[in-house]
Symmetry: C2
Subunit: 256 residues, 2 copies
């Protein structure tokens, strides 16, 4: 990992492992605006406070990692504010992005199966997470049925998400992948109350390409083409969706 002058941090600069500092505060799920997106869906106030008892809220700076491949698995992490990527270093030494994650999503579930994480989780902007120690979460979910159910739904949702990415990677051509990617981002922004039609990309073209199984030049070319066709506006990382229907149309007429 290298330094650049734009604030991306080295392994040395990163506070890692996450230190116990004054920025750690107890969560307050009952007051959290993401209550309906997060694990807490459907819990009453009493149960929410039981969650609060062991969930720790923490700020994460851009470039900082929550966990890395090989780290012992200890907790799941709910994103309160911000944007993360998860990636895996392949055996050939290439980084492959496995997901981009926004507020209300939970990361770290890959660690449950083998007691260590298989991917890295890195903040792509200044963020805030809720750390949920897994032993306690497991314990509590044995006592609160709706927490158990929500947790299972989150795991299953991750499986379904991964499978739709498999379909994207296995059956779509480059421009379809990019269109699907933009529409997916747009839709997730909408759910969170942000504008679905204009947003900043927090990741580089290379990271997008890695996620979609494409080279960065191909990503750039697709953006330019969509721009020329009036489907989107592109200014570096700032994207406007000008013709969502047009993007959707690219997905349906699969020439493959």
């Amino acid at each position: 990992m290298l330094v650049n002058r734009q604030g991306k941090l080295t392994a040395v600069d990163q506070k890692y492992p996450i230190p116990l500092t004054s920025s750690n505060i107890r969560a307050a799920c009952a007051q959290c605006s993401l209550r309906e997106l997060c694990l807490a869906v459907g819990l009453d106030n009493e149960d929410l406070h039981k969650l609060d008892d062991f969930v720790i809220r923490r700020k994460i700076k851009r470039g900082q990692q929550i966990f890395r491949a090989g780290d012992p698995f200890e907790a799941l992490y709910a994103i309160r504010i911000g944007f993360f990527k998860t990636d895996i270093l392949t055996e050939e030494g290439l980084e492959q992005v496995t997901g981009f994650h926004m507020a209300g999503e939970i990361i770290g579930m890959d660690g449950i199966s083998n007691d260590y994480h298989v991917c890295n989780a890195t903040a792509l902007e200044d963020s805030e997470i809720c750390i949920m120690p897994y032993d306690q979460l497991e314990e509590l979910s044995r006592h609160i049925k709706s927490l158990q159910q929500q947790f299972h739904k989150f795991m299953s949702r991750e499986i379904v998400r991964d499978q739709s990415l498999m379909i994207l990677l296995g059956s779509m051509r480059a421009e379809e992948r990019i269109a699907a990617f933009l529409l997916n981002l747009s839709q997730r922004m909408r759910v969170r109350g942000y504008s679905a039609s204009e947003f900043h990309l927090r990741m580089t073209r290379e990271e997008i390409g890695s996620y979609l199984g494409l080279k960065l030049e191909t990503v750039s070319r697709a953006f330019s083409k969509f721009h020329d066709e009036g489907l989107i506006g592109v200014q570096q990382k700032y994207i406007r969706i000008l013709n969502a229907e047009g993007l959707k149309a690219l997905l349906n007429h699969a020439p493959s």
Copy 2:
């Protein structure tokens, strides 16, 4: 879906939904040879019998489906004997295979998130499954900690499996994918006590291609090339691994 003369069954021929017949019998997890591969890992005899109480064992004929996309989610299915594929019909009407599943594996977890299944599960040979009604499994896993933990590990393992397929689809070229596929199959056969060096493929070239994001011709060509190079023996669906190290070597020197 079409009939052919080799025993693949049509939707009409299939017994679907799975009927209540005399082929349904109570499971006997304590006696099951897959106890150490399945959800029952680590359970004592008393707890095993609690599982038996609601797990139903059933035979599934080749071509028959356990569930289909859109079906209400009711149960998870442990494979006792046999071989299954899961696939999704994409919006363009193409089938994409999302997984091949062997004895000891659990399918259906995609259904938890939305209360209906998103994929189809089809037997590729005569098989036997254990049906685990989900409500009861969830209930029991609140009372048996090690069952809860095993269940979570299975879900997480599915996530990790999907992610390694994402890496395969996103970063490997055709021959690497085929080599990885063969080695993966081989390894899973070994774990189950079968020969790791020779086995019958239960799926067609087209299904392999669909799974790996390749066309069937590309799969066939890779098989022929590996055959010519002495890495494998190929006679239709019968495969022999002649040089596993040679196959592994294909994975490490990624020219990409």
